[in-house]
Symmetry: C2
Subunit: 301 residues, 2 copies
């Protein structure tokens, strides 16, 4: 069972209290693929510019299990994002966004990618997300990520996408904005009425909460003494989540969703241990399994 992701492959410039990176490999699709590859092959639907450095391409290719045949190379410059994190790493400021080749990106799926069944619609314009879904023939489980910008500016389009997906990833603030409820459990119930059967609330250093009609599951973040750069944590979580879900029999099964989310926080823990994808790229499946075991011990009582 293979996985499809549509999102960004980007050049990130990030500053945190612990260092900085310039034009490093980033983007939602990169982080997602680096995590999901542990579980099943991943096809990346994205675009880069003529300036995309060969060593970044090499890193993506080096993951193994990542299908880059749909990574378009367009005329112009690669999508660039620059941001800075506050001392506690919980808040960040976007310093610069240059859409570049991403501005005219029209995802066109190759025939073999239209057959893929597990889909992650990373945080891009809901129109593009809808457009990709139109091309997928038999989606079995679709997970959507979004942000305040689309919730406020493209609500109609986002609602149309929401009605077509199985799960949506939101942080507290996005959940409140989308639903109008300040309590995350009430907020999630309202979002569920919009279509998805599952709301995943991302809580950063506090982990994640799955909220469905039938159950609530809380999983903490993996404890780390040193966090370098939180960029990509949410996408790495999604990679572990969708990746593990794609290995099971029934992606709507409660136990499968719980286990998938646990794998998600483990993948996110590697993402934040270094700038860019360095640490996440090094992590082996055995590293993932070791942390998963430790996570079980962490919550046992």
């Amino acid at each position: 069972m293979s996985i499809l992701v549509v999102g960004s492959v980007a050049l990130d410039s990030v500053r945190t209290p612990f260092g900085e990176a310039k034009d490093a490999l980033g983007g939602s699709a990169s982080y997602f693929a680096a995590a999901a590859r542990h579980f099943n092959p991943v096809a990346v639907i994205a675009v880069v510019g003529e300036d995309f450095p060969p060593q970044h391409l090499k890193m993506l290719e080096g993951f193994g299990g990542v299908d880059l045949t749909s990574l378009e190379r367009a005329k112009g410059a690669t999508f660039r994002w620059a941001g800075e994190y506050a001392q506690d790493l919980n808040t960040r400021k976007t310093l610069d966004t240059q859409l570049n080749v991403f501005a005219d990106f029209k995802p066109r799926l190759k025939p073999q990618h239209c057959e893929l069944e597990f889909v992650f619609l990373a945080n891009i314009h809901p129109e593009l997300q809808n457009n990709v879904l139109d091309q997928v023939k038999k989606p079995r489980y679709v997970v959507l990520d979004t942000m305040n910008y689309w919730i406020q500016g493209s609500r109609k389009e986002l609602e149309r996408t929401l009605a077509r997906v199985d799960a949506v990833l939101l942080n507290d603030e996005e959940a409140r904005l989308l639903s109008g409820s300040s309590n995350i459990y009430s907020a999630a119930r309202k979002v569920i009425e919009m279509g998805p059967s599952l709301v995943v609330v991302k809580k950063g250093e506090h982990g994640a909460v799955l909220i469905a009609k039938e159950f609530i599951f809380v999983v903490p973040a993996f404890p780390l003494e040193s966090v370098s750069d939180p960029t990509g944590a949410g996408d790495a979580f999604a990679g572990g989540f969708v990746g593990h879900l794609s290995t099971g029999k029934d992606p709507r099964d409660q136990d499968a969703l719980r286990a998938a989310a646990a794998h998600g926080v483990v993948c996110a823990s590697f993402a934040v241990e270094s700038f860019s994808l360095t640490r996440l790229a090094q992590a082996t499946r055995q590293d993932v399994d070791t942390r998963l075991k430790a996570l079980r011990e962490l919550v046992r009582f």
Copy 2:
């Protein structure tokens, strides 16, 4: 095995986005006792003034299992606290603090209370905490609460108390201030070097983390769709924690500490469902057990 708490019995005036209370029964010792009584008898060492309303005393007496023979009634007015919570209930502003009879409070333990083995030193001046510890003959497990005010203003005295206790309750900010480390795990390791073998990091709506040399345990807050007033949540947590610990064989046993913290978050969940102690007072031991079962299900994967 009985429990001793030294702390405040207060008149609280609280405003939250969901309502307000005026001169309601509050105070760290009240919340603690209301939670700990489910597990073992609790002796309250505190002081109130001449104006302490009879119906508040009746409520405390009505708990059952709470020994009020050391609740001193002094000349003057009862300790008063007034505060206001922000929309998300995560930040609060103290509007007014009137120490009143608490300013001259010198806890003097009755002989039978000097024999008690489980001790909670609620958030009061470290000198008073030390003074109480001096009177306890064979403390088996001592838990300390404190706040920024003492960490900054009475550090020497606080360090002397820290060296004598088994566990300390801190929030993120207090842990950072006390240790100088911004990462809670590094911070906790430094605090452990000051004396306590366990650091309990209180994370409000995100639950709590126990950090010891040998283990880390993360427990989420009990999910609630409606929270009225977070006042007293930390003390109710402490009541469930120390209370449950007092029922076991070895209060230093890892599994005992994990189970105790789980009971702590359950007790805290009742505390925040109403203003003052209304909901916490109504909760039965069966209610506690039912939520504990649900908490287990919440984290299962």
